[in-house]
Symmetry: C2
Subunit: 274 residues, 2 copies
Amino acid sequence: MATNDVWINGDWLPAATAALPVSDLSIQRGYGIFDFFKLIAGKPLFLDDHLDRFYRSAAAIHLAPGIDRPALKTVVDEMIGRNELGDAGIKLTLTGGASPDGYSLARPTLIIHSMPLQLERTMSSGMTLITDRHQRQMPAVKTIDYLRAIWLQPTIKNAGADDVLYFQDEQVTECPRANFFIVTTNGEVQTPKSNILAGVTRKKLLEGVVTGYTPIEKDFPLSSVFDAAEAFITSTTKMIRPVVAIDGKPIGNGQPGPVTTAMATQLYELVYGH
Amino acid sequence: MATNDVWINGDWLPAATAALPVSDLSIQRGYGIFDFFKLIAGKPLFLDDHLDRFYRSAAAIHLAPGIDRPALKTVVDEMIGRNELGDAGIKLTLTGGASPDGYSLARPTLIIHSMPLQLERTMSSGMTLITDRHQRQMPAVKTIDYLRAIWLQPTIKNAGADDVLYFQDEQVTECPRANFFIVTTNGEVQTPKSNILAGVTRKKLLEGVVTGYTPIEKDFPLSSVFDAAEAFITSTTKMIRPVVAIDGKPIGNGQPGPVTTAMATQLYELVYGH
């Protein structure tokens, strides 16, 4: 059986003993950032995009990762070998570190750990969302602040929904762990431009990796979502997943739409096709 | 030398080895609440008020502490004896717990740890603040979310200030770890009513423990602060501390005022006098 070692500030530890002192600023003050990428048969997908964002997030909240990009890639390679990773995810978490007074910024703690992932190689069935009026703080930074999202778990479950869509001042923004897109009735693919985390899958779509369906960044209100022909989300793990109902109301005809399906088909072929 | 043991979900551990697995939802998702009270010569101050708030905060974010109030008090008593605590602080931190997928709510983790405190038995000198447009999420709940406050540390330091005062929609709310009060030019003591954490020292003042100067709860804009005769903050560790300047502008005559001083004198006598 493969090991499941975790790397913390230079040390390799078995997952069962990988731990942070209670004085760490993540535990004391919720202070940290992270990034997450997937491996397909042991090969990282879009690694440089994730590392770009990781270093950007770290700088944005005054945390020095203490390791440069080549050295970090070497650790990732070592983890892939050591843990015999195939289809898997790797998470980089950078926290404020062990703080003697539990408040002042300390030497940051970098944790690198891996997990098995059941990769979805074809588009999943349609999902349903509920809406919630909320704006993530520091939206452009991939912080560990999921207070609202975790708090909403029972609400989502009680509604029989799969996830939540945030909006604020009537503008739609994002899901807690995914970007949001609509397809208008005239076939335009739109994704919110402001107050969101720029996901890597979203970035790839905006760069035009899916021929014929390049989205545009544009803020839109909730009413536009209910007038849309289709809706979907994107994320590293979900890739493209159709959204068929929000707050119990169907989007379009309440089924995964043709544009979503065509985009997903191209994207899955691009990522898994070879 | 006294031990410094930490209690985690029923186990006593030396502080040096007290740690949470990296899968804990505090580390993964910033999910948790806490409370903090002080001991004067080994005696907890306002313990029931802090425990009231602790259990309220826990319920508000769907976390069961797994221990009832009498049992929790017994642990606190045991910690006081075991760690030979005199003037000290005790912090109760309740997190989302070790989550197999790093996202779903798990069995909560309760950490109880103590720290020495240099108690201030007389009013400190005046402090200075900067302002920041921010609204804490779930303000009535004492969550571990201090993302904004920790992020502002370099800004506060660069400004030569001691702390930050939050405001939103032009209404003043609070400091990250303290409540905020003004004394108007006609002698009324006011503290914001909405979108704040109800501090225990604030509660005591509102209950009238300081004769002749019972504050009223009232929301006010930043402009009222600059028109005020005096300003001060309250917290468990700071008790009452005068605020003499905000954003580089003096409050009143830029010195601790007579109402603040009179209130502090009574409060320190009440807490430390016997």
